[in-house]
């Protein structure tokens, strides 16, 4: 997370005041787009804002939205992990929330779609995505190894993501939640 805030070069720059309302709005929209229940979205949004506030007290934030989305994602991962560890409750009276996008994207069906799409991808693109996503290598490092420019590496990743997104759509796994 440190990358999203600067701890240096602040002296000459006044801190841009965080627009809490806009950040909260964007966060809620972001979490609802990931199809969380409104309760959970609100919980995570609030916890995220509280954490941003802590960061804002000691560091200049270069992108409040980037920081917000990263914190929210991390909280979401923690939540999903906790939730899957708990067995479903036995009472029939329970009204369970619809599966979140993250759960849908973690399913066997999604795995099959990803695998098919990856196997059809040009080898180089798959290699770039693998190094970037799984090995967390920087675009520069990947570029050096594969004799590509950083820009070309970025483009491969963008294309790979769009390919995967389209493959999902084609298989009827709708990410938007309203058949869009």
């Amino acid at each position: 997370m440190e990358q999203l805030c600067d701890t240096h070069g602040q002296e000459e720059r006044a801190i841009a005041p965080v627009d809490w309302e806009a950040t909260q709005r964007a966060l809620l929209r972001y979490l609802l787009a990931r199809r969380l229940s409104p309760d959970l979205a609100e919980d995570i949004a609030q916890e995220t804002l509280a954490r941003i506030l802590v960061v804002a007290r000691s560091q200049a934030i270069s992108s409040v939205y980037a920081l917000a989305f990263r914190i929210a994602s991390n909280l979401l991962v923690d939540h999903v992990r906790l939730e899957t560890r708990k067995a479903p409750p036995p009472d029939e009276d329970f009204v369970c929330d619809a599966p979140s996008l993250d759960r849908i994207l973690d399913s066997q069906r999604a795995f099959d779609v990803f695998q098919r799409c990856l196997s059809r991808m040009p080898h180089l693109r798959r290699e770039v995505l693998l190094r970037r996503r799984v090995h967390h290598e920087s675009c520069r490092k990947i570029g050096e190894d594969l004799t590509l420019s950083s820009k070309a590496v970025e483009k491969h990743i963008t294309r790979a993501l769009c390919d995967l997104r389209r493959a999902m759509n084609r298989e009827g796994i709708d990410l938007t939640g309203w058949n869009g």
């Binding site: 701890t7 809490w20 804002l49 980037a66 929330d97 993250d102 695998q115 675009c139 963008t158």
Partner: protein, 349 residues
């Protein structure tokens, strides 16, 4: 900007997702990202979908399996169909990857490097300047207050926003008000909330694993123990979340949760809970929980001779404001006796 096509937005979102997970974030690009997010709400949606895709567990697994397959391919002659895309260095790269030493962890960053330390010192100085410049920042954003009562004590608290909380005996809770939220965390005990209605700021109460979110107004929350909580609604509606599930409770209903078990309560009547007037309606309530309640108001601690007596179920209306009355009713209904021992009342067979 609004004329932007869906495909174009998706492509931009993918680019930003790649960037946000990157190693370097220069301020200029960061500002551009914020502008992009603010420009169109569809950008947030597309970014959220792409992020979910990037973080998908199934994608990691799928990539891992194709990595395994590629490693096998490395042992075979190069595949004919893919030579076009494949730079020669790729195959050489495949095998040593597994043998590569693990990437340096975060600890590596702590080794002494003059430049890093200079930056850290500069950062600290800047933070200090900030705190001097905005001394009221903390007070303006937060109201952090603890409220507690002793055994047998009851206390009415009026919050800044107009909400009133009645604390029962032996109760402790923490109130935290921020510009965007109103949040009470109960550490123990029970409390009745009469919440001032606000359109933008939600009011939430956390008690153990249970979270109550207010849509309407009057309810009480009881933290029976670490694992069991009870919520009863007297006016309006509340939303209760527990262990990943949620329920909307209308006035006149309630919910008892314990671990994975949830039970709906019905017939919650009146303006507020009986305990505020010193009464308690036991409905198949374990004796241990009943004693927990009694001990919140009783001047003399009440104990059990054997812990298993705590499993006994009690039903009926008890006057908790008089410990002796309540104990007489319990003993009569369960065939128990009671005696005094070292300043406490002990219940026994």
């Amino acid at each position: 900007m609004m004329a932007q096509g869906k495909a174009e937005i998706e492509q931009q979102a993918a680019g930003w997702v790649e960037w946000i997970h990157g190693h370097v974030h220069d301020t200029e690009t960061a500002a551009r990202f914020d502008r992009w997010i603010e420009a169109d709400p569809r950008h947030v949606d597309a970014f959220a979908h792409m992020s979910a895709l990037w973080e998908a567990g199934a994608l990691t697994r799928a990539l891992a399996t194709c990595m395994a397959r590629n490693d096998n391919e490395g042992a075979e002659p190069p595949a004919r169909s893919e030579t076009q895309d494949q730079p020669e260095s790729t195959d050489r790269e495949q095998t040593p990857r597994a043998a590569r030493p693990p990437r340096p962890g975060r600890l590596a960053n702590l080794t002494f490097r003059p430049k890093t330390w200079a930056r850290a010192v500069a950062g600290l100085a800047a933070a200090l300047v900030l705190m001097l410049a905005y001394p009221a920042l903390h007070d303006h954003f937060f109201e952090d207050v603890d409220y507690a009562t002793r055994i047998g004590q009851s206390r009415l608290v009026a919050l800044q926003d107009g909400t009133r909380i009645r604390l029962g005996g032996a109760t402790r809770l923490h109130v935290r008000i921020t510009p965007w939220s109103r949040h009470v965390t109960m550490a123990r005990g029970l409390a009745f909330f009469d919440v001032a209605h606000e359109r933008t700021r939600t009011f939430a109460v956390s008690a153990g694993e249970t979270r109550v979110q207010v849509l309407g107004t009057a309810f009480d929350v009881e933290l029976l123990d670490d694992d069991a909580q009870q919520v009863r609604v007297y006016r309006g509606r509340v939303r209760v979340g527990h262990a990943g599930n949620s329920w909307t409770l209308p006035a006149g209903s309630g919910l008892f949760v314990s671990g994975q078990l949830a039970k709906r309560l019905t017939g919650i009547e009146g303006q507020g809970p009986d305990w505020m007037q010193g009464w308690f309606d036991a409905q198949d309530t374990p004796l241990a929980q009943l004693l927990e309640r009694i001990n919140r108001t009783s001047p003399v601690p009440v104990m059990l001779a054997h812990p298993e007596l705590g499993e006994l179920r009690i039903s009926g209306r008890l006057r908790l404001s008089s410990t002796q009355d309540a104990i007489d009713v319990i003993c009569a209904s369960q065939g128990l006796r009671h005696y005094r021992k070292g300043g406490a009342i002990v219940l026994a067979r």
